[in-house]
Amino acid sequence: LVRATFAPQSRALALDRRQSPAALPAGRNPIAKRTLCRAALPNGEAVDLLVQQRGDVLRLVAIYDGRSAAPAWCAHRDRCHSERKLMINPGPAQALSELAARTQEMLSAYAPGYETTYHDLRSATLARPKPALDPMSVSGPEGGYFMGVDKRAKPFTRATEASLSPAER
């Protein structure tokens, strides 16, 4: 997965080279040294892109809307007045991706039992109980994990809002 930014618009796109757009009609296969990518726009819209890599710079060649391949500058000409070539610079894109990941960690900081993906963010104090109204909600002691079991594995958790589910009843 490549996170990339379109420099003229400073828009972040997530390019997934593993997904090949099956909806593309025959005859529009990527030419040599060019790669088809599925990109997710910030508004959630998915588009197919033809990009060309030169060094560590990705150049957007065309945007596919499923039936036709439009030159990149046509698809974005209303937003791109002076430049017709859209460059994807991996440096700021990586920084933006890092910022987004860190932001997501902070947004989950108060989720019960949330396990951070960053070891440098792991709190030294594990037990941080806060009052709750649910009588089935309890906090484990320092360093203690509850044991669960599902179809795949036996994971350990500190998320303790247990319930008597209909299946169990």
Binding site: A7, G91, P92, Q94, A95, L96, E98, L99, R102, T103, M106, S108, A109, Y110, A111, P112, G113, Y114, E115, T116, D120, R122, S123, A124, L126, A127, P129, K130, P131, L133, D134, P135, M136, S137, V138, S139, P141, E142, G143, G144, Y145, F146, M147, G148, D150, K154, P155, F156, T157, R158, A159, T160, E161, A162, S163, L164, S165, A167, E168, R169
Partner: protein
């Protein structure tokens, strides 16, 4: 008894007191079928209990009685164990690490804090520092890209 993600909580069933292996905790199927399970709660020693209303056949008077399903199991890992994250709220130990399993308020395990929820493992202050550093890095990258674009334009203008 299930956790929010749907996985079944393991513990020591009251109906099988001799068991040393954690098992799934289940409500009495008759109570469940008759809808007599009320006021389910977890106590400080890990006991999962509920109250059921029964009618005395002699006096026909309803009365409530407490029913314990069992006690939830707790696990602890050796100091320095770095758990591998499975989901946002679940983790597993690395291969070969065997947890110490027990019951709350017994042995080295402390009591549970009832009617409370445990916050995540994120150190909020450290997170803010890291977030600020990430923002600064993005600013630096953006500034660098702008300078690079300006220099390219200047070079092209000179060539023209």
């Amino acid at each position: 008894v299930t956790f929010p993600d749907g996985s079944a909580a393991l513990g020591y069933p009251a109906a099988n007191p001799g068991s040393s292996t954690p098992q799934r905790l289940r409500v009495d199927p008759v109570d469940a079928a008759l809808g007599r399970v009320n006021d389910a709660h977890v106590e400080a020693d890990g006991t999962v209990a509920y109250s059921r209303t029964v009618i005395d056949p002699k006096t026909s008077k309803p009365s409530k009685e407490r029913v314990a399903i069992g006690r939830v199991a707790l696990a602890r890992f050796p100091a320095g164990t770095e758990l591998q994250r499975v989901t946002a709220t679940h983790a597993t130990p690395p291969a070969g690490v065997v947890p110490t399993v027990g019951k709350p308020s017994e042995g080295t395990f402390g009591a549970l804090a009832t009617q409370s929820r445990d916050l995540g493992s994120v150190d909020f202050e450290a997170g803010l520092v890291q977030l600020r550093e990430a923002l600064l890095a993005l600013d630096a990258m953006s500034a660098g890209a702008q300078v690079e674009a300006r220099e390219s334009k200047t070079a092209l203008d000179l060539i023209k």
